[in-house]
């Protein structure tokens, strides 16, 4: 942002005062990012009658599937980047509205890729009481071992011991190999996304929960591991798996 601040401030103040607070700043626009949740080729839903089947031929139904996307950045072809301030979102399959992410005041331009963190950066894990998406009321915070749960997947499977699985994945410290933070970089495959006051771009990303089980790291077998409730090696393996969930689909301009 290189425009003159001194001139801009009174002008902006006036605009904001008159309009209803939600408007984008001049020279910026809105971007919508739609997350399409899948399990392989089927739509991912909670409490399905027919189970999904993992690569290890295990049958899976989900009762909870939620995760944090934070510190979203958009890249331009010239290598510059826009980073959303205060960028924390809780995506929850039980709350359909959360799968459509809206970004206001994205500077006008053509973008070629998006990067974000799955989870919550280490600073916010140690900064006391937070609000909004980061509020502990969302039940994504460990009370006895302070830190955010980055992704929570719970459900049923006849192959899991006791018929249930519960994965609470998190961990932000580098010591003793407990850092499960994942950075995702997605390129728009040569397409570009235009933002501005006259544009209404929509970016579609798919989120394939099958990768949670079959991602690039190891095949997760519920018969062998069905509960993770703390940071550590298991959490990291699963995080490396679900890193592969996100893929670019298309852009509607």
């Amino acid at each position: 942002m290189k425009f003159s601040r001194i001139l801009l401030i009174p002008a902006l103040a006036a605009t904001l005062f008159i309009s209803a607070c939600k408007e984008d700043l001049p020279g910026t626009g809105t971007l919508s990012v739609e997350l399409e949740h899948l399990f392989d080729t089927k739509a991912l839903e909670l409490n399905t009658a027919t189970p999904y089947v993992s690569g290890s031929a295990e049958e899976i139904t989900f009762t909870t599937f939620k995760y944090y996307i934070s510190n979203v950045r958009l890249q331009k072809a010239d290598g510059t980047e826009w980073a959303e301030p205060e960028s924390y979102r809780l995506i929850d399959l039980a709350n359909a509205a959360s799968t459509l992410m809206t970004f206001d005041s994205v500077p006008e331009g053509e973008y070629t890729g998006i990067t974000f963190t799955i989870g919550v950066d280490s600073l916010r894990n140690v900064s006391g009481a937070q609000t909004g998406a980061l509020s502990p009321s969302n039940e994504m915070f460990w009370s006895w071992n302070s830190g955010y749960i980055f992704l929570k997947a719970e459900g049923n499977s006849p192959q899991a011991s006791g018929g249930k699985f519960e994965f609470h994945i998190g961990g932000f410290r580098n010591a003793n190999n407990t850092n499960a933070l994942q950075e995702v970089e997605i390129s728009f495959g040569g397409e570009s996304l235009k933002t501005g006051s006259k544009e209404e771009p929509e970016l579609h990303l798919s989120v394939n929960a099958k990768e949670f089980f079959d991602g690039h790291h190891t095949a997760l077998k519920l018969a062998e591991l069905s509960v993770v409730h703390m940071p550590g090696a298991d959490a990291i393996e699963i995080a490396e798996n679900y890193h592969a969930m996100f893929e670019f689909e298309h852009i509607h301009q």
Partner: protein, 345 residues
């Protein structure tokens, strides 16, 4: 980012006029931190994002004493943390929570919490503000979902007004709830023991107390350090281990942390029996006997307790008497009867 913040500051009055912002400024009375003596180290929690006010402190105090925090409205923070015992639970190794259920650890005393780097016997909680989340959600303590509790507070006849007066926001949220409790707990300062009068040159120590002090400084203060009597670190002090509670290892997953627990402060120690993370010792005399002859060797035993010909700290009968005299100088009778920390009427 910085640019945005500045913009917001400039716009704030305009936006308030336009009533687009959630905030309605509440009356904020000036209220100061309880002064700590100059010989205390620097505090960790300085109320930076959570400015201390009379209303905020009083709200925190009310919440601390209110059983509404537990699922069946039977247990308050003060059920397990009683002021008369420096906010520990006197006489009980394990305190009952809802339905009389018990956990595995002794209720620690609460004071000088603003100096803590971490909380709980294993340091698992990293910030004073989110500390209450642990007892509230623990099934054997208050067994309450935070969202549930917020709904209760919002529906209460008085809390919504009290929150508004303290924080100037339209609606109660959990951040304000945690802020209020942090204002109360963070302002619990205990620094009025006879030992403090000695430090301030007001009262000399007796011969036995002085002998105890010297011995303490030679043998105990490596861990029970500074005028806070803790190094805020973790040690295995040689207690017979309990495989189901590995202490710090549970948090940092490091086998070298097995059996290490947070060094407790020894201020008010005469009031907070029983002792150790599981309340295994009934008296200070038993604690001293343990340091003298009960210390168990293990791979993680602190080197300070394994430096002599045999493990532990050899203490004669006279040494023990002197140490007891000194430990008794650490009782702050002003703190345990200060009306500021009593249940609101």
């Amino acid at each position: 980012m910085r640019h945005r913040i500045r913009l917001k500051l400039l716009l704030a009055p305009l936006l308030l006029l336009a009533a687009c912002r959630e905030g309605v400024p509440g009356p904020q009375l000036p209220f100061t931190e309880v002064a700590a003596p100059a010989y205390f180290p620097e505090a960790q929690y300085r109320f930076e994002k959570n400015p201390l006010t009379q209303k905020g402190f009083e709200l925190g105090r009310r919440l601390f004493y209110d059983p509404i925090l537990s699922i069946d409205s039977t247990v308050s923070c003060a059920s397990c943390h009683k002021q008369s015992a420096a906010f520990s639970d006197p006489g009980l190794a394990l305190s009952p929570g809802v339905n009389g259920l018990k956990g595995t650890r002794n209720s620690p005393a609460l004071f000088n919490l603003a100096w803590n780097k971490a909380f709980m016997w294993d340091g698992g909680v990293n910030h004073i503000e989110i500390m209450p989340l642990a007892p509230i959600t623990n099934p054997v303590e208050m067994n309450q979902k935070l969202s549930h509790l917020m709904a209760r507070l919002k529906a209460h006849p008085e809390y919504p007004r009290q929150f508004r007066e303290a924080f100037g926001k339209e609606e109660i949220d959990d951040q304000q709830f945690f802020y209020a409790l942090a204002q109360f707990m963070g302002n619990m300062v205990s620094a009025n023991a006879p030992y403090d009068e000695f430090r301030q040159g007001i009262r000399p120590l007796s011969a036995s107390e002085e002998a105890g002090r010297l011995l303490f400084e030679q043998t105990c203060s490596t861990c029970h350090a500074t005028a806070l009597f803790t190094d805020h670190s973790y040690h295995n002090n040689g207690l017979e281990s309990n495989p189901s509670d590995t202490g710090l290892e549970r948090i940092d997953l490091n086998p070298a942390s097995r059996g290490k627990f947070k060094t407790p402060s020894l201020r008010n120690i005469a009031l907070t029996a029983p002792y150790m993370h599981d309340g295994r010792f009934q008296t200070l005399r038993e604690v001293l006997d343990f340091y003298d002859s009960g210390v168990k060797v293990s791979p993680t035993l602190d080197p300070a307790l394994n430096a002599g010909p045999r493990p532990g700290i050899p203490l004669t009968e006279a040494d023990k008497q002197h140490l007891l005299s000194f430990l008794n100088c650490l009782t702050d009778s002003v703190f345990v009867s200060n009306p500021m920390y009593q249940a609101p009427r």
